[in-house]
């Protein structure tokens, strides 16, 4: 499930008042989420959560659910580390 925190970051970057985001949502289905804004969104997420995505991780993302799982695993690793 997409957390409220992640949703807030995405909508803020895309300047959207509201838009429903689900695990299956693909980037291209969200207004304004194009190839250029993709990197801006990822950078905003990194800043919000204090995490860092690696190139291969970014290229393997299929949908928002994947992104949420990746964020969760990084937060867990940070907490354990």
């Amino acid at each position: 499930m997409i957390s409220g925190r992640l949703k807030k970051v995405i909508l803020k970057v895309l300047k959207l008042n509201s838009f429903d985001l689900y695990d299956e949502t693909l980037a291209y289905q969200v207004p304004g989420w194009d190839s250029l804004s993709h990197v801006i969104i990822l950078a905003a997420i990194e800043k919000e959560y204090g995490i860092h995505f690696r190139v291969a991780e970014v290229l393997r993302l299929r949908n928002l659910g994947d992104l949420q799982i990746l964020i969760n695993s990084k937060i867990t690793n940070n907490n354990q580390g």
Binding site: L16, F19, P31, G32, L36, S37, H38, V39
Partner: protein, 570 residues
């Protein structure tokens, strides 16, 4: 060296004879190891494709549309088409967000206007494209999936004689390739370039950038873009210089891969649209730069958008410590209609910056700033390359002297003959051997400065977008008053490119109705793969009309940007 050859194929073949083991193309994949094509194995594979094409009935002079994703076999497929004297035309593989109906409409329009004979693509697009073949009006004779030939190919004796015979039916004036100049939804204009035009251009432009055997070109640009296809693919391939080809989709997701390729391969040259300088400076993480060395680069050539001084400064300040040299910041002025380059800055010197008076520039005069705060920095795109002439013309068609702003006209040995199947459009831009580029610029101390467009074309990240395409799709959105829409570009200094803005009249009055309408308008843009960044919803009869009775893009853009009217929903 290219001038001794009649056909581009002859040039490639000569490399195989002289040094088959030379590296031709490094196919880069950020998720795996690079694949390295030598001239020998590249042409061997191309001939197998050519043999297959002949079996399928493809003939010399046929136009073969290539719609493939980043794949190591793209190159031999492209070359195999040329091997039999057919004409390759690289088209964009549809972005996932492009509505299938819009893709079909675009390809259908292109098939009719550009005269496509065959489509070579991936199995995934079969259902989308097949109806085009059945359509009686379509010129498309068939659809192939050449990647499947490669995987299932059985060893067999190639009929070299038949391949050579087919190719020998054409001469140096025959069409070599077809590229599309700009557009979004089927309005693309097809530019056909002959073998001679391409070879002559390679000779002249490589001299302008002092290309040598020491060079190695790196490219993330898609090969349906003239900058990717001509500058970063054809030029090195014809001259025996290796090129490293990156996946454009991977690059926009992870821009660091350009620097990884430069660093690992010790590349020396690349071409970038202006936005890429900002994109790299803003989006590459400092941690990712560990171990990256950019000192091998002798030229980063800024091209295909207005060159912005802020972008060069930002890029240099960020990456100087990784080896970027000021003198490597070059610029070029180019377009598909002239094969590629028209002007180029001097290699080994930073593109010249000229500080001018912003107000005077608006009056079409180039002069030093009269007061502080009026400065505007323009960046030179350099001097004309050999056998290329430019002139700056005023609205009455009179040639202007130095330091006066006007429309840019070009004459070149590599100029196209006209848009394919579009004689009227051709006659509008091509007169007495001069091509009217639609760009606005000026001449100063022998160098040309391109400062914008003379028409309403919006340039986003190096891609030309016609505002009428956007207005057409927004026109169908429920809640928008039909015919009462304008779309235009707004310069975004942060990203170094333009944003797309739309003003639409609506009878909706409160935010409960306006918010979903704004969203629907943005989604309509997505259907044609255009990101609408800002939507202004205005009440009925807000838009100013031009003398033709249609809403004026220029006047309404000025009105909305200058007057921040309260009733407007932004």
């Amino acid at each position: 060296m290219t001038s001794v050859f009649q056909l581009v194929w002859d040039c490639w073949e000569n490399h195989v004879k002289e040094h088959p083991q030379y590296e031709a193309i490094v196919h880069w994949d950020a998720l795996g190891k690079p694949f390295r094509w030598t001239y020998g194995n590249l042409l061997e594979e191309a001939l197998k494709i050519a043999d297959n094409l002949m079996h399928q009935g493809v003939k010399a002079g046929d136009v073969c549309a290539l719609i493939l994703r980043h794949n190591k076999y793209f190159y031999p497929i492209y070359m195999g088409i040329a091997a039999i004297g057919a004409i390759p035309a690289v088209l964009a593989y549809p972005n996932v967000r492009l509505h299938p109906a819009k893709f079909f409409h675009g390809l259908s329009g292109m098939a009719q206007k550009s005269g496509l004979d065959w489509v070579m693509t991936e199995r995934e697009l079969e259902l989308s494209i097949k109806p085009l073949i059945i359509n009686e009006q379509s010129t498309i004779k068939g659809i192939f999936f050449p990647l499947e030939w490669i995987n299932s190919q059985q060893p067999k004796e190639l009929k070299y004689e038949l391949i050579n015979k087919s190719r020998n039916t054409i001469n140096s004036s025959a069409p070599f390739l077809l590229q599309h100049s700009s557009g979004t939804t089927g309005l693309q204009k097809a530019v056909v370039l002959s073998h001679k035009a391409v070879l002559e251009h390679i000779k002249r432009y490589s001299k302008a950038i002092k290309l040598s055997e020491e060079d190695k070109i790196v490219n993330w640009l898609p090969l349906y873009h003239d900058m990717g296809l001509i500058a970063a693919f054809h030029i090195p391939l014809a001259l025996g210089i290796p090129s490293i080809q990156l996946d454009p989709f991977q690059w926009v997701s992870a821009p660091i891969i350009l620097f990884q390729a430069i660093s690992e391969e010790k590349a020396t040259l690349t071409w970038l649209p202006n936005f890429a300088y900002n994109f790299l400076a803003d989006r590459v993480d400092e941690e990712e730069m560990e171990g990256i060395d950019l000192s091998s680069m002798r030229m980063f050539v800024n091209c295909s958008e207005v060159v912005r001084s802020e972008s060069h400064k930002k890029f240099f300040n960020r990456f100087q410590k990784y080896g970027v040299k000021k003198e490597s910041l070059a610029a070029c002025y180019a377009m598909a209609e002239t094969t590629f380059a028209v002007t180029q800055t001097e290699p080994g010197f930073e593109a010249r910056m000229l500080t001018v008076d912003r107000n005077a520039l608006a009056r079409k005069i180039v002069q030093p700033p009269q007061y502080a705060g009026l400065e505007k920095i323009c960046v030179s795109s350099g001097k004309p390359i050999s056998d290329c002439l430019l002139k700056i013309i005023d609205e009455n068609g009179v040639e202007l002297p130095e330091n006066r702003v006007g429309k840019v006209f070009i004459k070149s040995i590599s100029l196209f003959d006209g848009y394919r199947n579009k004689p009227e459009t051709t006659s509008q831009v091509l007169k007495d051997g001069w091509y009217s580029s639609g760009d606005i610029g000026f001449l100063h101390n022998g160098e040309y400065f391109i400062i914008g467009r003379g028409d309403d074309v919006i340039i986003v990240a190096g891609k030309n977008i016609f505002p009428e395409d956007i207005e057409d799709v927004v026109n169908n959105v429920k809640g928008v008053i039909p015919g009462r829409i304008v779309a235009f570009g707004v310069e975004n200094l942060e990203t170094g490119t333009e944003d797309v803005a739309v003003i639409a009249e609506t009878s909706c009055e409160d935010a409960i109705e306006k918010n979903p309408l704004e969203l629907t308008i943005k989604q309509a843009g997505m259907d044609i793969d255009v990101t609408i960044s800002v939507v202004y919803l205005v009440p009925p009869r807000w838009l100013i009309k031009s003398s033709s009775g249609k809403p004026s893009r220029k006047a309404n853009k000025e009105r909305i940007l200058v007057n921040n009217v309260d009733l407007i929903k932004k």
